[in-house]
Amino acid sequence: MSARVYIPGDAGATSVGADAVAQAIAREASRAGGALELIRNGSRGAYWLEPLVEVATPGGRIAYGPVTAADVPGLFAADFLKGGQHPLLLGPTDGIPWLAGQQRLTFERVGIVDPASVADYVKHGGYQGLKQALSMAGSAVVQTITTSGLRGRGGAAFPTGIKWKTVLDQSAAQKYVTCNADEGDSGTFSDRMLMEGDPFALIEGMTIAGIAVGANQGYIYLRAEYPHAHRALKTAIAAAYQAHYLGSDVAGSGKHFDLEVRLGAGAYICGEETSMLESLEGKRGEVRVRPPLPAIKGLFGQPTIVNNVVTLASVPWILAHGAEAYANFGTGKSRGTLPIQLAGNIRRGGLVERAFGLTLRELLYDYGGGSASGRPIRAVQIGGPLGAYVPPSQFDIAVDYEALSAVGALLGHGGIVVFDDTVDMARMARYAMEFCAIESCGKCTPCRIGSTRGVEVIDRILEGTDGERNIRLLEELCETMVQGSLCGLGGMAPFPVQSALKHFREDFRARTRQ
């Protein structure tokens, strides 16, 4: 039996040298003359341990990390293919405390399976949800999703089942399922990890959605900044067609579902669902006025499901295990699990999937181990560039939709960006306005003009021109943008500014020029 080694092909792992490690291991193995099966899996999400190399042993998978190409001869000398002792040995992968404490449902296969293999997907429980869905009426599938309590993981947290029911209830010759894979929020990478590490989960989720509501065409709108994910999706979609899980006879059911990937072109606003639909139609990504809702009049004017990657990839698990099993995780109206992403200045950054309800402090210190720089954490931004900055006095808050919104923060797509005490919060506030100015679609005035004026006002504050008066002006401007913008970009870009003013006002002072 040849030895089997797993080295992530995930973009994050390759960004810190996984390809070089894979080449070194292949080279060393051929020199030693032993047969080696090398699998490029997704990442387990423990990025501080990447590149994380795993070997299959009779007692399960054993991990080494972080491995560099230079470590490889030493690993062979230590007989790592049999789990030998080495300073980089981490023991059984499933026993690494950071991973062992997680509750992985949506990410149950990420980092474990070969993302290019339908057979491996099926072997690890894949397509059980579709099988279940095919034995049910569409309305029963939709009811299952409603009962599970699943809410949109892209950020808006709208109940998924209600959205699906709206599409189901429309009579139209053509309906669509679209996946919003325009994961543009800084601090988030769960969509990317899922698409690279377990793309069939997304494909299966979209197939279930299509069959449930009567849509035979799906589109994944993927951001152009994700070339690795693009390759992984194209490979997986081709494999799913080959195995007849996509096409005119899905899994022998006679049902029809086609799926393709469309690339975005570097516009953050296209993560807003109506803007995404415009972009899919080949137009400028300008926001549409709602109503009508996309579920009634969406892509090419037809009833359309728009869901995020993680939302759709959670669907197979829910169908396979039942709505109650999913709803048993979580707290209050936040049911199920959330893949949280620990990012920025954090010692142990990566993906933590847990039921809703653990505290920020647990995430930042128990999982994250504090800041990477070793300095005190001063602020975290939750939910991307439109999310509020949260100070340490609020770190005991539970991570769920309602608890965060009660303190004026939002969970968004579940990304948490950590800053140590060297952060200048007035500059971060300025950046929020600048980002909004760069990315505004230009359709509504509060966002298009307000963001540029916001940058200018903050500049005046920092120059020492009428500080107090300009701070009041900035507060009014924020209020205007929140109340008057057409969509969440202009409507939420003030959140980081307002929270910085509220919790870190001392930073909004005149400073001497460098």
Partner: protein, 176 residues
């Protein structure tokens, strides 16, 4: 925000009058025509066409706009509007290597601004510009999804994480 003024103030390239007057050479014209005829039957094909043009030519030349408009039965204004809306589409040819540095929050928390300053000095150009020898184009980018390995950079579609100034120099030296 996409007014010409704002782009110009950021140093971004946009279509200027002399660019718009340029016509494509016969080879590029044939390429654009072939792409349009291959893709025009697809639903909402314009973005797909522009991606294919940029993949083939390295950018979307102003001279391609009328060809695309004619082939897809759109107005030139509509095509121009789409090309200029999206940051990803280039209006001028890039350097041999495109270096994109993430400037979003997670990377800022790990020194992205200092890295950008270093990169500007090392390459001798600002963002949105190409080195005089045509080897490198430097671009800002807003999130590469590598936020647990910040700061991140992408060079010709390859992602790099935990990029220190020293590592940046080594990566630049590796580009042939």
């Amino acid at each position: 925000m996409r007014t010409g003024l704002y782009k110009a103030s950021r140093g971004e390239q946009t279509y200027t009058a002399d660019l718009i007057m340029q016509t494509l050479n016969p080879g590029d014209t044939a390429t654009v025509r072939r792409i349009v005829s291959e893709l025009k039957g697809r639903p909402g094909p314009l973005l797909e066409v522009l991606h294919a043009v940029q993949s083939a030519l390295g950018y979307v030349p102003a001279g391609a706009v009328p060809l695309v408009a004619e082939g897809l039965n759109l107005s030139r204004a509509e095509v121009h509007g789409v090309v200029t809306f999206y940051h990803y589409f280039r209006h001028t040819p890039p350097g041999a290597h495109t270096v994109s540095l993430c400037q979003a929050e997670a990377c800022q928390s790990r020194g992205a601004e200092a890295l950008a300053d270093h990169a500007r000095r090392r390459l001798g150009v600002d963002f949105h510009a190409t080195t005089a020898d045509g080897r490198f184009t430097l671009e800002p980018i807003y999130c590469l999804g590598n936020c647990a390995c910040s700061p991140a950079a992408m060079i010709d579609g390859r992602l790099h994480g935990r990029v220190t100034p020293e590592r940046f120099d080594a990566l630049i030296a590796e580009q042939s």
